[in-house]
């Protein structure tokens, strides 16, 4: 294995232009699988959600889930695609133990949706935004595989042989694959555009309610295809495909890394190997997967066990009517409703916080409070952990709950941070955390009064200054009281008490 020479990104983009392709797999949230009536709920015991169809027992036959087709059409419409008048399923034939039929029922040359686009916005460092149109080649229906868990020889069974344990509960879950046409944008923008595209698709599809679209849970998976062209040349390079990209941030990092890596190879006069690579969250690099032996000949042919799908134009229009308002329109409306500046709005969207803020506001918080917490405290914590905001184990309703505790004077901003700690650590709801940790602000004037007296006694100089009308000195006494109260006091009330006592 040769060590890879990486050309720093900023340098690489002076000599090469990236050509990208992004493939997104969306796991639908239907109640049942794509081709059978087994349930799709998470966390079931192994092999309790399987039947002859999804186990591929001899003689079993698939039947298409109507809801999956409906979701596919709505997704296609949201992506500005044409919806096929006639389309068919096709068999993609290859062998793999987690794929029971040893073919995947998918769509080949007749996808249900095609020729679409999305417009994504990327912020420039100087604050302006640029819009890029990403063309969607197709969106098609297919099915997920089972899960094989490797059991290592040394730590596994007594006999020592390497083996895997396969659970077919996830085999047959409906997937929609969205494939872009090649994306050619200015090299310096490429990573951000890729990230913005995935984030935009997440928001778009999330708004339809057809999927949980959580990258960290696998209901939205993104594969990044990338090749480099020397600047000024039109010859496309060999592309690599990077999988295992689990957050928007990782999409961006993967693009940057692959550009560096490809440049390193090409600078040295080498050829990029066409292969699948695995993104490493820990250091932002990609590692080579096993090189594929045969060029994969999937021997596609139309699925004879399923009838063609021919969505009537009436049905398509009916579904078009169920789409939520277009994102740009929604954003404009929300910005007006919330009274956000352009910058506020851009920051919110850029942080992937639009829906989170909207849900927090819907749960009762003010727009400013919602934005403050998601873009401040919570964004900081997410960045520290290297995860997306929506992967934090806190719900918008809980954020609104914390704000309402502040509004009610039961806690202050500083205590709120401890409440966030508790909720994120899984200790319970905001109310439960406040109670368990004893974070409630003391509002009993008697106790506060005693603390104020002690503070005054401890700092006669400050006390005198205040009596003399120099109210700036109040700060020191407030600080002393807060320290005594371990922060659990309302600073405003403390100030009042001090002034009362020293007036």
């Amino acid at each position: 294995m040769s060590t890879e020479t990486l050309v720093p990104f900023e340098e690489a983009i002076t000599r090469y232009d990236p050509v990208m392709g992004l493939e997104i797999h969306i796991e639908l949230n239907t109640a049942t699988k794509m081709f059978c009536g087994c349930p799709t709920s998470f966390g079931a015991e192994p092999n309790t959600q399987v039947c002859p169809v999804c186990l591929a027992l001899p003689g079993a036959l698939p039947v298409v889930n109507a809801k999956a087709v409906e979701s596919a059409i709505r997704m296609g419409l949201a992506l500005n695609c044409q919806i096929a008048e006639h389309c068919r399923f096709a068999r993609k034939n290859y062998f793999y133990p987690d794929m029971p039929k040893n073919f995947q029922t998918s769509q080949y040359d007749e996808p249900i949706a095609f020729d679409g686009y999305v417009d994504v916005e990327v912020a420039d460092p100087d604050g302006s935004t640029e819009t890029f149109r990403i063309e969607i080649e197709r969106a098609h229906m297919e099915e997920d595989t089972g899960k094989a868990t490797h059991v290592g020889g040394s730590t596994g069974r007594i006999h020592g042989a390497d083996h895997s344990l396969v659970d077919y509960n996830r085999a047959g879950i409906p997937l929609i694959e969205i494939v872009t046409r090649t994306i050619e944008v200015p090299a310096d923008k490429a990573p951000a555009v890729a990230r913005a595209y995935v984030s935009h698709v997440r928001d778009l599809i999330g708004g339809l309610g057809v999927s949980d679209v959580r990258m960290d849970q696998g209901s939205l998976r993104a594969d990044v295809n990338l090749s480099l062209k020397p600047k000024g040349s039109s010859t496309l390079g060999t592309r690599s495909e990077t999988k295992n990209v689990n957050s928007f941030r990782s999409v961006e990092r993967a693009v940057r890394y692959e550009i560096s890596r490809h440049a390193g190879i090409l600078d040295a006069g080498g050829t990029v190997v066409q292969e699948t690579r695995h993104f490493q969250e820990s250091d932002g690099t990609t590692l080579a997967g096993r090189e594929k032996s045969d060029a994969d000949d999937y021997r596609y042919f139309p699925e004879p066990d399923l009838a063609p799908v021919s969505p009537s134009r009436e049905w398509v229009e009916e579904l078009r009517g169920t789409l939520p308002e277009p994102p740009a329109q929604r954003r404009a409306r929300l910005q007006a409703e919330w009274g956000f500046s352009d910058l506020d709005m851009r920051d919110t969207i850029g942080a992937g916080a639009l829906d989170l803020v909207a849900s927090t506001i819907a749960a009762g918080a003010s727009p400013q409070a919602a934005r403050k917490w998601w873009l401040g405290e919570l964004a900081r914590r997410a960045n520290e952990q290297g995860i997306d905001l929506d992967a934090l184990p806190i719900a918008p309703e809980q954020v609104a709950g914390i704000q309402s505790l502040i509004d009610a004077g039961r806690i202050n901003d500083k205590l709120a941070r401890q409440v966030f700690d508790g909720v994120l650590a899984g200790e319970g709801t905001p109310d439960e955390v406040v109670a368990a940790r004893g974070l409630e602000v003391v509002s009993d004037d008697g106790a506060l009064g005693e603390a104020v007296d002690r503070a005054i006694a401890d700092d006669p100089d400050a006390a005198q200054k205040i009596r003399d009308g120099k109210h700036q000195a109040v700060g020191a006494l407030i600080g002393s009281v807060m320290k005594q109260m371990r922060g659990q006091a309302d600073a405003g009330r403390v100030r009042e008490l001090i002034l009362e006592k020293l007036s």
Binding site: V64, D297, R299
Partner: protein
Amino acid sequence: MARTDMDQTDLTRLSADQAARALAAGETSSVELTRALLDRIDAVDAEIHAFLHVDPEGALAAARASDERRAAGEATSYLAGVPIAVKDVFATIGQPTTCGSKILEGWMPPYDATAVAKLRAAGLPILGKTNMDEFAMGSSTEHSAYGPTRNPWDTTRVPGGSGGGSAAAVAAFEAPLALGTDTGGSIRQPGAVTGTVGVKPTYGGVSRYGLVAMASSLDQAGPVTRTVLDAALLHEVVAGHDPMDSTSIDAPVPAVVAAARRADVKGLKIGLVRELQGEGFQAGVLARFDEAVHLLADAGAEVVEISCPSFVHAIAAYYLVMPSEASSNLARFDAMRYGLRVAPEGVADPSAEQVMAASRDAGFGDEVKRRIILGTYALSSGYYDAYYGSAQKVRTLIARDFAAAFEQVDLLVSPTSPVTAWPLGDKLDDPMAMYLQDVATIPANLAGAPGLSLPVGLADEDGMPVGLQFLAPATADDRLYNAGAALERLLEEKWGAPLLAQAPTLEGGAR
């Protein structure tokens, strides 16, 4: 239960319709009938080898249940209590399903095929599973991994295939009924060479759920019987829309029993398929066929010659479509979830890939491997258009020929098989020679049209049965039964008895 005058032999000789009426009249019981057939199987199947598995306990339990329901005055279906044999390609709870292959040796399905569930719901005891060419690939049942079945008319000869077991069981009076499958003639051709009746319904007429798939767009389940009426009765039990099968027809089952009882060909226009009578057809087969056609004409049918030019390309198209679909359908036999698992020889710590490859080599027979390789080739990139793609176009041409023909006639006829049953081993060295046996039956599968074969006599050369095939437009299955029953009646008048009365008594058979 009323005692009966009928002795064992009489019971095994009853047609399903006769048995049903006897049961209804209290002249016999399902348990008695089932016992008689089990005894018959014991007596003759060591020689015939129609069955891969016999289930005396299960069959008798079902028979008892049927008798009890009848005694309690509960409504029962017409064929309730009449035993049946089931081709080993259908998933059956409680009995193994091997598809004639080592790769599924001993596999006990955890579910019933829809057709099997319908048999059970109608109260038919299932005697056992019958032998077949491995994964339905063959025309002689010699490709079964468990040894061939022998033709009851001459046990040195083949019973046809792939459903030779079902046809032989019925021909040898081991069962009055059998359920088979037909992908390229696997019900009709064995019917022709064993002197029994076999029907391939319109594609989609009977559910394929639980029928181990060979070629998904061609496979169809259907009745194997001794009389046309019996086939119609069984057809009505197993046919009908199934929501578990996306390719099943969502329409009422054609009135096939009424048609079989009508049995009237007056005024019917019948087309003789020119391309299915000439070279390659045995003289004795053509002689009996011609006589049968004359009988139809004498009975008031108008017979004309019809040309279906694309039929000569049917075998080529079939041997591309079928292996292609089969190569994909058989991919699931990979030793991971069920079936034979063997480790590759001399490999210390084999991978899943190696175990798959070794198991498939050990578990599949030569003919299956041949067709899988052929199918893989036909689908592979660079060859798809020329092979599979072209074959699917030939299907359209064949369907067009059928459509054009049926604008002029109500039914088509041809000999079912170009030859009578040949000696075991004769055609094993030349796969193509075996494939050519399906020349007359394959067009119907490619177009989805229904076909019925019934016996029309014995060939002069060898005294072996000859079958005639009727073909009808898709969903007009009733026309087959009407014409079939009419011809059957005319022939039996001529012979004085059913053809099978002329079959040799089998050694060890109960008198």
